[in-house]
Amino acid sequence: MENGFSNLSRRTFLKTGGALGALAVAGGGLAATDALFGEGVAEAHAEMQEKVTWGHCAINCPSRCPLKFHVKNDEIVWVDTDTSSDADFDDHQARACLRGRTYRRWMNSPDRLSYPLKRVGKRGEGKFERISWDEAIDTIASELKRIIDAYGNEAVYIAYATGVEGVTTGQPFQRLLNLCGGFLDSYGSYSAGQLAYMQGTIFGTAGGGSALKTAEDAELVLVFGSSPTETRQGGLHTHYDFVQLREKTKGKIILIDPRFNDSITGHSDQWPPINPGTDAALVAAIAHELIKKDLVDVDFLHKYCSGFDEESMPEELRGKHLSYKDYVLGTGYDMTEKTPEWAAPITGISPDTIRQLAQEIATASPLYVVQGWGPQRRSNGEWNFWAICLLPFLVGQVGKPGTNNGNRESRFSVPLSNFPSGKNPVKASISCFLFTDAIDHGVDMTATKDGVRGAARLSSNIKFMVNYAGNCLTNQHSDINKAHDILSDESKCEFILGFDTVMCDSAKYSDILLPDLFRSEQVSLASTGSNTAYIVTAQPCTSPKFERKTAYDVCAMLAEKLGVKDEFTQGKTQEEWIRSLYEADQEKDGKLPPYDELMKAGTYKRESPGAIAMKKFIADPEGTQIGTPSGKFEIYSQKIAEAIDTWEFAEGEIVLPIPAYIPEWHGVETVTDEHPLALMGFHYRGRIHSSWGSIDALKEVNPQEVWINPADAAARGIVSGDKVRVRNEFGEMEISAKVTPRIVPGTVAMAQGAWHDADMFGDRIDKGGCINTLTTQRPSPLSKSNPQHSNICEVAKA
């Protein structure tokens, strides 16, 4: 039913009614009119028909909701989702969020790309001219060949991008470039780079968290820096799961955050405000209280952890006061006792509250400690993550029903195979956050200074870059002004291929810019889940409009030009790949429905058995190899101790081998007279990162604002709705103020992902309120990741 009328039956035709319907009936019914006027009339009938196709969201939000497109005359009329009128609270429907409900607006957005374009202005200026697909493919292929010949494959890079994520055919460029000799790979993410590094370091292979559902059995659910209802908003994901948890648990929920986030809405008793970036100080003070009151589960710590006290330190390091207990009691490291009185002015949490919290943690059983990705996306994020994970171990609340290991909750999904990327002949990789460094001075980047992996140093700067479905060149990268200077210099990265659905800020830096089709405009398949696993499918909701093409087809065209078409496609279309990969998965799984059935149903769901973090290791620590140096959860990390000895760090950088509190370079303890406020980002309901950032209907009711406490606002003469200037050493923006007690004094917050809107060849003042106008490109010390919540600034009335 691709063209919308092959399913036209006499019954539906008669039901259709309206003027054209009446005319056709007068003509003697469908069969007769077909005979008289041929297909033209059938098409006219089709105008009256509404067809429904399943599609799905494919953005970097793991909710990845099913969408039900109602289409008339090859145009979307409205977008429904997995829902029904009779569903009750426990019916697991994957209902799309407000963003999913605006797909029609996005697909028809004035920013939508429709033709291949070539840049005619300066890089970043946004001036383009329409070209043919032939010219586009020729140019891209010849530039790729030229650059590989001149600089080698290590000069080719695929930028970190999350505009298309989770679909089984989302990464065709990896395969294409691997067939052409490979590319400089990247590791980490802008979401959870610090966490990923630390999870492997301290947990080995046993780091996965418990399901959110597991928390339903807990007596105390302690949440650090997370807003499950905002970060994963639709579908059968943490929004729904958290609302379920709130209602089902008999336990208490405490949500520690500098911001009274939307997950706390209506439940203010759950909010102890904290200064951003100080979670590890709070944990140290809780540990102090637990140790002093003899509430620590020492046997548990000795059995499962390395480095809590002298006795559990690696043998050769004993007697040196390097344990966490030494840190807490002031007998090691900075020789300062981490009393609640010590932590209070750092965290903003009173000594009494800290003691009460410690008492609750000590007595709650089961205790479920969980964190979002806020605490780790910071300059000291590695240690915040680590300290929060330590907390449940201190009281032996890991590995049993109702508990978690302090990591973010795990997600349950049905594993599906992706379109194979093949083998990358290039061994070197960089932290994705450092790509602008690698463009600017890649050849100076080394393993011990910059975290280059797979090689001691890079052999080339990045010279050719693919930016498919990404806005991380500027908007979602840090220090946009610096990024612009690097990217706009055409002598540095010599060619940038952009490929997107809309003209986002990063797309303006493309030399050739290609128009993408949404995954709901092509055949697609994705798997996701939280408490419930679900698979979502897409059939094209409309025909491809203008000259937009799928990423697969474009890569196949490039492959042909580069002489690797047969290897790339193996004779298959994208749909044939999707089907054959799925059918192999189906055979392995045994329970999945047949492909055609799945495509028709749109969604397939599977209930989670409910994961408990580290269950196996806690049940059998000797028999379970987790791969850390000590074979246990590392409270003292030998890997980090080695890095301290062998890596080169920035001047003054503090790196410790225990989950200590390290004051941030740009944080609440390091504000200055010039920049006296801390500034953090958060996820906003109206966007996921920068996706949907240009949709007027969403912007209208989710305005971009800087949240400022009434005390800080009053001191600056600011009232809600005022235009203010926010500035720091990296840049300046103009934005509206939201004066609210929902943010702690001394810190201001703005949702990340707003579309950068500045004259980059003029005053560079960002009118869009993009936080990355004000963030740094200095990476966090171990994972070399983005510390985009660690900023200081001043706010003044505009």
Binding site: V79, T102, F260, S263, T265, G266, S350, R742, P745
Partner: protein, 206 residues
Amino acid sequence: MTQHAFYFDGTRCTGCKTCEMACKDYKDLDLGIAFRKVYEVTLGETTVGADGCFTTSCVSYALSMSCNHCDKPACVEVCPTGAMGKDAERGLVSVDADKCIGCGYCHMACPYNAPKVDRAKGHSVKCDGCAEFLAVGEKPVCVKACPARALDFGTVEEMAEKGERGNIAPLPEPAYTEPNLYIKPSADAKPAGDMDAKVANPLEVM
């Protein structure tokens, strides 16, 4: 006539605005027009003491609301042309676009910010409960959209069993128009008429 009503569960709502956007998409509403809106009410303080510690009395809650299809609708009362009326089957208030002259009295009279004159269309527009869905036994699009399952719609008897009539701030006392909105308030919610409980997101709902 069986009066129908909306239900709002304030303990579940997270203020996400999916209801509002689903309605906007289905009804194809332009900027400046929304039949359902989500209000943020925030009060209290978060302060820092001389010791550097925070104290907070901050409470914040969301209220999702469309037209409440009142028993004594102010919009119907003030309408000079009889364009605004309650339907005989379910007691829903809707506007007859042919009769409406776009004077805006309904907009000014409604204490729930429901009807609005669409200047492009030249007449008043508002929630009709998704009449075409109701006709085939379905619920309104906003109710079916809610990811948190915080909304419902049905007969006034069914909805009254689940909550109290229009009883939280910033709503006026329900006696005024007798709204067909039944609410289960969150712990943070203040009673209707509480003068301290103000709308904290005026830009988003006007």
